[in-house]
Amino acid sequence: MSQSILIDGIEVPFKSNQTIMDAALAANIYIPHLCHNPCIKPHGSCKLCTVEVNGHTTSSCTTKAEDGQKVINNSEKLNKARLTITQMLFIEGNHLCPTCEKTGNCTLQAVAYHLGMLDGHFPQFYPKREVDASHPSIMLDRDRCILCELCVRASREFDKKDVFAIAGRGDNAHLIVNSPSGKLRDSDIEQNDLAAHICPVGAILIKERGYEIPIGCRTFDLRSVTEIDLGDVKLSEKSSHHE
């Protein structure tokens, strides 16, 4: 028997074990998200994907779809909360987009555009965070890290290496590197690892590729996060089809 949920009144089918996020992506419905990537186990930390399910708020990337659920996604109230979360992510780090190689390819920036963010609203933290440029081909600029743990999970689940972890709490939470010196140079990371490419922001960058694509011609300069994200799903569906 086919099962379905209602997202903003639209009937969306799902398979058992799918989350609300999985079902939404498969149905071409965009739920804003930052710490979720369909290739990696969900983590539920950024809270951007918060939806209302039968009147309760929950992270759609970690909540299993259940037959008959009524999900509210694209409401003014939820988008306002998502905007506030996004503003906090900006002010807690050092996000000076004009100086950042990721600009135009950055999911945080694209989500902020999607939510119509004009300013950071809160006072800037300007935290002091360590840059690790020790590796010959991979750069780690913690100023822009949003602690989404995508690199942590990609390294553990995909690359089978455990290069990254988050240490510390609250204001002190920061990305650490698993190596005797704590530097990337002495870790197991390699340029072709998924962990070196999955960062949604400009915290992990491949060296010597700077400005290969001019600003103005980059991913989110040309298309919105909604289009890119749903397009990605279609691509991954295609590849699993060919397997």
């Binding site: 900006f90 002010i91 050092n94 996000h95 000076l96 987009c97 004009p98 100086t99 950042c100 600009t103 135009g104 920036q109 902020a112 555009y113 119509g116 004009l118 300013d119 950071g120 609203h121 006072p123 800037q124 300007y126 002091k128 600003i215 919105s224």
Partner: protein, 178 residues
């Protein structure tokens, strides 16, 4: 209809926002049917009369920036933070990673090619703030116009909306942070 009075200033910015504004080119003639410029680098008027709109480029890096910003807030009905530096400190805020004394030493004492090293202390030189700050941390800001710099069309859109008595609204295509 009487013209809207507009003041503009560049605080800790690079004048790029003003240059981008001037990229409206000949549309400035049409704009001048609806607005008149008051205190601004474009007019060289040194202090604000009561104004309808104030455009603030740049964040706050010294005490003079704070005085000018407060004059703008006191004189302008609507204050708009223009560009990345006004909104989050921008490039000048990159110095916030370093103690002010180190920045001064690097520029005036130990920097490459510095001759007769000395830190400027003339009374005419405004004292630097310890950190660079965005303008909304000091005064209330009514609207934000992001971009580094915001495109000329975005200036036209926001001013056009205000001239026609509408709430300014940037279309997605004009919303950029870089």
């Amino acid at each position: 209809m009487s013209k809207l009075r507009v003041a503009t200033t560049s605080l800790a910015g690079c004048f790029g926002c003003h240059m981008s504004f001037l990229d409206i080119d000949e549309r400035i003639i049409e704009l001048l049917d609806h607005v008149e410029f008051n205190r601004s680098p474009l007019t060289d008027i040194k202090h604000c009369d009561p104004c309808d709109i104030g455009l603030i480029e740049g964040g706050l890096c010294n005490i003079d920036n704070v005085h000018v910003l407060k004059e703008f807030r006191a004189s302008c009905k609507i204050l708009i933070a223009v560009g990345a530096c006004a909104i989050n400190g921008g490039v000048p805020a990159m110095r916030n990673h370093h103690p002010l004394s180190e920045c001064l030493a690097e520029s005036y004492l130990n920097g490459i090619g510095v001759e007769n090293p000395q830190i400027p202390d003339d009374v005419e030189v405004p004292l630097l703030l310890n950190k660079v700050h965005p303008v909304h941390e000091v005064v209330k800001i009514d609207y934000y116009l992001p971009g580094c710099p915001p495109p000329a069309d975005a200036f036209m859109k926001v001013l056009g909306d205000l001239i026609e008595g509408r709430e300014p609204l940037l279309p997605r295509t004009m919303l950029r942070y870089d």
